[in-house]
Symmetry: C3
Subunit: 134 residues, 3 copies
């Protein structure tokens, strides 16, 4: 079973919680046990699992990543000017593997699954979902 | 097949080798071939695969991560004060997928699987293990 | 199904596109649907998915990682002197899980799978591939 999620983003750096979209799809297709891979089909946007409670974490998270990989860098050669977004994507990962048990994602109390936009705003970002049942 | 490992940590930053715990469980349940996902159920502790020989690597590893994501940061807004731990977790990853062949993890000579505590000490940290046989 | 790829690298930091090697093997063994895990068997070399078009991205990528984790650091204790390579490996990840659909890797237009050497040049670096069919 597989599916592509489509997402519009509205700022350069943005974390969008996709946990419930994934869980609704798992319910729709009736998966009980296994894993689901959520994979960004982009090189300037990734997937991570992090805090779903205090929104300040997202603000801090994106600002800190921007300090480690600043957008402007005089030595960058990539003409598109978005080298920092490529680094951020490989740092958080382009994809995550999530465990499914009893029809639900196995996540801790404070964990959510995030699509991480690092070169937005963009229309129609794609996340490919693939289930392996067990 | 799935199982939750429970771990107590005893410092703020700590790497704990969980390779043999995973391998013992694989032997107990008799898995021969497939993959196992080891997933931290926390947003301030992750999983990585790295050097199992010289303990100085762990010391350097945790100190270097702390330089990149310092604990104190005057711009952080997250009231809990552990923003750095959230960044470190997404950097190493909340989970890793490990290959199983002939009943054993497929790891290089120097590779071990580590639970990475970034906001300890804590009691009862949880790592969820899930096997997909092939 | 599994296989080990063998790779020689020729500089300290190097990104080598292994996408077509993986895809050829998938075709050889006739996998149609599922996932493939590509796992570096080393602690100073990882796997990432990133841009396959402009080669300047690789140059920027490796230089930026080197700025975040400089090779020389007066506080490092690891006698081998390659602490930075260990950090880079855990940052990009020692392994990636890739989705297979209709006999092909599910990747975006600009995505390629890269073996990332961080402590080369080395002969006979090993990448273990494992397929889980669905």
């Amino acid at each position: 079973m597989e599916k592509t999620l489509h997402i519009d983003t509205n700022s350069r750096d943005q974390m969008i919680d996709i946990t419930s979209q994934i869980e609704h799809w798992l319910k729709d297709v009736g998966v009980v046990d296994g894993i689901v891979i959520a994979s960004s089909l982009h090189t300037t946007a990734g997937i991570t699992v992090n805090e779903n409670a205090d929104p300040d974490v997202k603000t801090d998270f994106l600002r800190r990543l921007d300090e480690v990989y600043p957008w402007e860098h005089e030595l960058d050669r990539h003409a598109e000017g978005n080298t920092a977004a490529h680094l951020k994507t490989s740092t958080v990962g382009h994809a995550q593997t999530l465990i499914i048990s009893n029809g639900q994602l196995v996540l801790g109390t404070w964990q959510g699954v995030y699509f991480c936009e690092f070169d937005g705003p963009r229309k129609n970002r794609k996340i490919h979902l693939k289930v392996i049942s067990s």
